[in-house]
């Protein structure tokens, strides 16, 4: 067999393998998809009321609830991504992947494709529920919303991979992931509209990837100006670049000398 078909075989085997691993432990992902739908349903009336009182100037209640929950619970799902890499280390299988004929890029693609798909499905279900039940509509077209979902999902995937390089155990990942998800959601204005946050918290908001995700979703849902969308996506791009730099250390662990 020549090189290209062998590469396809390797990537195909890895994609199937990763999909099986995700399917064998679906609990967290189901939870992170059902919980935001429930919370969105509960929070939407309150957020509508807040918006009607003129306390927020950005998104209406439905858009804030849908985007906020999509962002917040994809941050929780970041732990699933991190766990996917971390368990390779705890099972000692990462070394075996590294000692295989697969390129590092093939390993990362093979692991990333199923995770990316699952995270996109999570975003689609949350936003789809808001569309079907609460009448969520984009500002101009659907494609910016899809673009934001893809960019944010990619960012989560990269940050999850980076998180796996920074922690040593599943317990550490769980604790750090929960705290980081809540903190990032607050700073980004996903849990509570940013306008209601204290000014000192608003000032540090741009340090959170959640801030740029919410800004991107706001652009896609209520602000059709291209500059708004580009600005939000650029912010996400910075976090993707940061995540790639951190994740590179994981690839370097293939050779420990």
């Amino acid at each position: 067999m020549s090189s290209a078909p062998r590469a396809r075989s390797r990537i195909g085997a890895l994609v199937r393998h990763e999909a099986i691993l995700l399917a064998r432990a679906p609990g967290p992902l189901i939870g992170y998809t059902v919980m935001p739908v429930l919370l969105m349903t509960v929070l939407r009336p309150m957020l509508e009321r807040v918006a009607s009182l003129g306390l927020t100037t950005g998104m209406d209640g439905t858009a804030q609830a849908a985007a906020g929950m999509a962002v917040m619970f994809s941050l929780f799902a970041l732990k699933v991504v991190g766990a996917g890499f971390l368990q390779e280390r705890t099972w000692h299988t990462w070394d075996r992947l590294g000692a295989s004929a697969a390129r590092t890029s093939e390993l990362l693609i093979g692991k990333a494709v199923p995770m990316l798909t699952v995270l996109l499905v999570q975003q689609a279900i949350i936003l789809g529920f808001a569309t079907a039940v609460f009448g969520l509509r984009p500002a101009a077209a659907w494609w910016p919303l899809a673009l934001v979902a893809i960019a944010w999902t990619g960012c989560i995937l990269i940050l999850g991979t980076a998180a796996a390089t920074l922690v040593q155990s599943p317990a550490q990942l769980s604790v750090a992931g929960d705290i980081a998800a809540v903190l990032t959601s607050i700073l980004g204005g996903a849990l509570v509209p940013a306008e209601l946050l204290p000014s000192w918290l608003r000032a540090v908001g741009p340090l959170s990837p959640g801030y740029w995700a919410m800004r991107s979703y706001r652009a896609a849902l209520v602000d059709p100006a291209p500059a708004s969308l580009i600005g939000g996506l650029a912010g996400l791009g910075c976090f993707i670049a940061l995540g790639i730099a951190l994740s590179a250390s994981l690839a370097r662990r293939r050779t420990d000398g």
Partner: protein, 309 residues
């Protein structure tokens, strides 16, 4: 073929490999033995491309590991010392993923998994999650994953640790078959009788290098064995029939002789001292074993370490 020449690897002040050299020909099984920390696992990880060497040359299947790491990894089948499988996946799924990672098509992987499951007696457990298999079954699955792509070089790092006799026998048979197909096998173990069963040549590792290398027969030729002669009453007085270095211990009616070829020694002894033969009740011959060789080599090098500057 596996060729390692002058490998060096330091971890800070620790010198894990100090001039490690080894050559394993196609079809040959080399048993790598040595104390914990001798450098066996560092060597295995270097062959697997997971350790960057400070110096030396390492070729797997004719491919330089440093120059063409992917090609070298493609020629290698490696089962590490610790269990490294996906516990939530079935044995079959584990075999298929490692087959696929080696570049086998799905059809090739399925076929090869079926062959290996028969060879390693895994057919009954193929569709059970690995995490629910016994330790011995897990070890067999791990060995099978390393053999999926018919590697040119097979490196098994303590594949039978904690395994029951049946598991051990299945693994040994499969390893022998792979070697018979022309694979160069490096087999790391602390169970020296396994190497006798495999008919493996032996490399003894100490202090990050190979201190003895050869066939079992050659290496054992210089190792003393024992003969115990049991007499009715006090043993007769005997002069040494040969000039070989030997020791004689008398304990009541038993005479224990430690010598390099105990059978030949006793035969000559009895021929030259026929007067005591009628009182001889039994002769117990204990030829040297790999354990004896191992102990002797380690003691010798320990002494050498002390006296060398």
């Amino acid at each position: 073929m596996l060729v390692a020449e002058g490998l060096h690897k330091h971890y800070g002040a620790v010198r894990a490999l100090r001039g490690f050299s080894l050559c394993v020909r196609p079809g040959e099984i080399v048993g790598l033995v040595g104390e914990n920390g001798a450098g066996k696992t560092t060597f295995a990880r270097a062959v697997a491309g997971l350790v960057a060497l400070d110096a030396g040359t390492l070729r797997v299947g004719g491919v330089d590991v440093a120059a063409e790491p992917r090609a070298a990894r493609a020629a290698l089948g490696w089962a590490p010392q610790e269990l490294a499988l996906y516990p939530t996946m079935t044995a079959r799924e584990n075999l298929l993923v490692f087959g696929g990672l080696s570049g086998l098509s799905r059809r090739e992987s399925i076929q090869r998994a079926a062959e290996l499951s028969v060879a390693l007696e895994l057919t009954d457990v193929l569709d059970r999650p690995v995490g629910k298999l016994s330790g011995g079954q897990q070890r067999r699955v791990q060995a099978a994953t390393a053999m999926m792509h018919r590697p040119t070089v097979l490196l098994l790092d303590e594949p039978t640790v904690g395994a029951d006799p049946l598991t051990r026998q299945a693994v040994l048979s499969a390893v022998r078959s792979v070697a018979d197909e022309g694979c160069a096998v490096v087999y790391t173990t602390h169970y020296l009788p396994e190497l006798e069963a495999l008919g493996a040549s032996i490399a003894v590792v100490k202090g990050g290098r190979v201190i003895a290398r050869g066939s079992r027969t050659d290496l054992l030729a210089a190792v003393p064995g024992r003969a115990v002669l049991r007499y009715a009453g006090a043993p007769p007085k005997m002069a040494a029939p040969m000039s070989d270095p030997h020791t004689v211990q008398i304990d009541g009616s038993d005479v224990t002789i430690t010598v390099t070829n105990p059978a030949a020694y006793v035969a000559t002894l009895l021929a030259t001292h026929a007067d005591g033969v009628h009182r001889l009740r039994s002769i117990e011959l204990s030829p040297p074993t790999l354990d004896d060789l191992y102990r002797q080599l380690l003691q010798a090098t320990r002494h050498a370490d002390v006296v060398s500057p």
